[in-house]
Symmetry: C2
Subunit: 305 residues, 2 copies
């Protein structure tokens, strides 16, 4: 069958005709809402299956009061976004919402991704779900200081989301441990290569006893360079990431990292979006979650010097 679509796909009307009922009734049946007898229900369903009827979401969207669509923009090379997206699917589908993904890529600006989404879902209200970045850094510094580390370097996230909060959180936590003099921030970024670049700098001058990176991707790049430079982790240097992405959980990496619990964040975000769409009251506009630390294999007490 080429060219395609030589025959028009079956519509509600087709099902209705064959079943000898009205379109409205078929609509009721296929949506599974009350209002049809079991006998009719079964017959309609059979016929629908027989002729291969599939609801047309375009029409459904247009006719329905609400679109039941949740738009999501994400970067495809970002493990944390993948985790969030997975959580969003998991939370949205049971609620009867469909998820529409729109990617941000090197060539595709966030603005563009959002625009195409807005053409389908027109609500512009904004809620924010985030974790307390400063608290996350604090957990990491507490953990490292507790192990006995003093030279704890932060490879930062530059202008990345949450980067400045994490920087400040790191500074404050160091101060509270009396490690003011050991505070050191090395310029990093969001990608593996940013972490790798920072690692080269650190390796050259003899690595610090611990490094706390802006995110897991950064940590991955840093780890790689360290290992190649003969710097053993965690024997020579401890490393802590941020995000607790699937990458951090890889058995061969076992990265100690600050967990934002993407699944929970995603579920909350969906819940709020749905609440807004269904005109419920949304109490707080911003929800700040408490992160926790996932201690794995890249941190240990410093070697005695």
């Amino acid at each position: 069958m080429s060219p395609v679509d030589a025959v028009r796909p079956p519509t509600l009307e087709d099902v209705a005709q064959r079943a000898g009922v009205s379109r409205a009734l078929v609509s009721i049946v296929v949506r599974g809402v009350p209002g049809a007898s079991d006998a009719t229900r079964q017959r309609v369903l059979e016929i629908a299956a027989e002729i291969g009827y599939r609801p047309d979401s375009r029409a459904r969207l247009l006719a329905g009061r609400r679109s039941r669509l949740i738009g999501v923009t994400l970067a495809l090379n970002h493990p944390f976004h993948a985790d969030l997206a997975e959580g969003i699917y998991a939370a949205a589908e049971p609620l009867g919402y469909e998820v529409v993904l729109s990617a941000v890529t090197a060539q595709r600006e966030p603005r563009q991704a959002i625009d195409t989404l807005l053409e389908r879902a027109r609500s512009r209200a904004v809620d924010v779900i985030r974790t307390a970045d400063a608290a996350g850094m604090r957990l990491a510094v507490d953990h490292l200081a507790g192990l006995g580390h003093r030279d704890i370097v932060h490879v930062d996230g530059n202008r990345g989301p949450g980067a400045s909060d994490r920087r400040n959180g790191y500074r404050r936590a160091m101060r509270q441990h009396g490690l003011d003099d050991h505070t050191r921030i090395v310029s990093g970024g969001q990608s593996e290569e940013d972490g790798a670049a920072a690692a080269r700098t650190l390796a050259d001058e003899g690595p610090p006893s611990a490094v706390l990176t802006y995110n897991d991707r950064c940590a991955v790049g840093l780890l790689d360079v360290f290992v190649r430079a003969g710097i053993a982790v965690p024997d020579d240097t401890s490393v802590v990431g941020y995000d607790d992405t699937q990458v951090a959980r890889l058995p061969y990496l076992r990265l100690t990292t600050v967990s934002q619990d993407a699944e929970h964040m995603a579920a909350l975000a969906v819940q709020r979006a749905v609440a807004r769409l269904e005109h419920d009251e949304v109490a707080q506009r911003e929800l700040v979650l408490t992160p926790h630390l996932a201690v794995r294999g890249t941190t240990a007490a410093p070697r005695r010097r």
Copy 2:
């Protein structure tokens, strides 16, 4: 403004009324098709901007003959898929097609991803764009054998896409180099951890002179374990991946890998899909591209023994 959507977003009708023209004319103007005077065009556009009109893609989709939508399913944790998706966006948007992503996750079967897509885009014709897997493996084996390697192990992809073709290609290439006796396939898989597991096996028994993995993710896991085990790459062992994903190009990895040219594949796929939708003839149903080898830093001549 909470709850949202207290006011209905402006429609074509609203613009038409304010401009004192018909809906059809406004439609012509906003789509940028010929059929309106410059004066009208400008006035309509101004008013549209003023009241914040945005076309409703649901209605557009329903009314238009064709949806101008291209559905894409992908796994979010798969760098090669990310590369393909990026290529698809790049190819589709200039042609006036919108891309709809649908993710396959651990909890979300491919079937489900495809179903939600089919509700929007109903054509079921199938074209295939792929690279010649056997030829790719051949390139890799040629390269390694040319450097002087004999013990070339293949960490395979199990039941992954193309895995059996790659296995066979590897076997044949080894045979043609007279390396029958050195042919060895270690069970792998598609993920980093699969590569890492294979690496542990290989490291324990003393690593071979070269390893050719099913894909880049596999190679990444393998590399990590090797490096930690003190096996230097490429000094002790050469490693070749497959896919040439962005990961392979990371400056700190510089993985030698078989390139499938995702961008080109994506462009061809879009081109074909569009051709089908626009009822052009599609000559071949299957297009098999020639891979090439991206030689980077993980391969070198074997150390003299």
